[in-house]
Point group: C2
Chain length 168, copies 2
């Protein structure tokens, strides 16, 4: 498996899907005549992050995943989004950032040892970083964002979650 | 990235984590003095699958992922689980099934074209099958199972979700 193919295009697709779920949330709010931005603070449990943080964290997992694998310095984001429009703008910026990577940025990174600020002196190989950390975290946050919207009545289904497939 | 490493050990770990979340749910029910099996039919939206189906689907994504990549016939499961204990038994059986695979079962499968019953004449490469279909579906169902438990007050956090990492 190509580390690039397993990450950048898939992250971009899932973030584009997430953007469409947010658009569906706005459409749902218009139909039901409520302010769509009330959803930004919606959460499934009082001690779980709300929608805004789920979207920010999904963006961060994709951004840091690509940056750390390639050894590039990731752009900083202030996590100040308070509206659906601002969350959608955050997603757009991260997709544009992912567009700056090419397969060559990931050559030989499968076995490269990556240091992470929160690992306290330990390191992890590039492929384990993606398989054990970035992927589960990324999907955790996109799925939880999706679940918050579904729980609040937004009309979404599994096809909206998965998006398009590369069939031959 | 090794297709085996990206799938079998990670699926096993996440299914073991899922099993521990179910144990935590039972402990929570004992503390709060309710029947833990009421959670089996809990769901986040009336038109989303309940906990039982989320666990069954996570098991199926792992089972079918390994089976279809390797070209082996997967075992059948009747999806009749109605208790937490039965769901935990289902997880155990699928982990044991995953244990029957070795890296050699996946050699050269990255580029192999896989036919799926629901693809209507189309096929998908092994690595796209994992990246675009199995992984998002698998994490969708484990995360939704986790979210249903969190929504119902079970004491879990992100470390319980991720489990152990291969650090060096």
């Amino acid at each position: 498996m190509s580390l690039y193919e397993a990450t950048v295009p898939q992250f971009k697709k899932m973030l584009s899907n997430l953007d469409r779920w947010l658009q569906a949330a706005v459409a749902h709010a218009e139909t039901k005549k409520f302010d769509p931005n009330t959803l930004v603070v919606a959460r499934l449990a009082p001690d779980q992050y709300p929608l805004a943080r789920q979207v920010q964290a999904a963006c961060d997992q994709a951004k840091f995943g690509a940056a750390r694998l390639s050894g590039k310095e990731p752009p900083k984001h202030a996590d100040t989004e308070q509206t659906i429009d601002e969350l959608r703008a955050r997603i757009r910026v991260v997709i544009e950032y992912l567009d700056t990577f090419t397969p060559a940025d990931f050559t030989g990174k499968d076995e490269a040892l990556i240091a992470l600020p929160f690992l306290e002196g330990k390191r992890i190989t590039g492929s384990n970083y993606i398989t054990e950390m970035t992927y589960p975290n990324f999907y955790f946050h996109v799925t939880t964002a999706y679940a918050i919207l579904r729980h609040n009545g937004v009309n979404l289904g599994k096809r909206d979650f998965l998006g398009s497939m590369t069939l031959v």
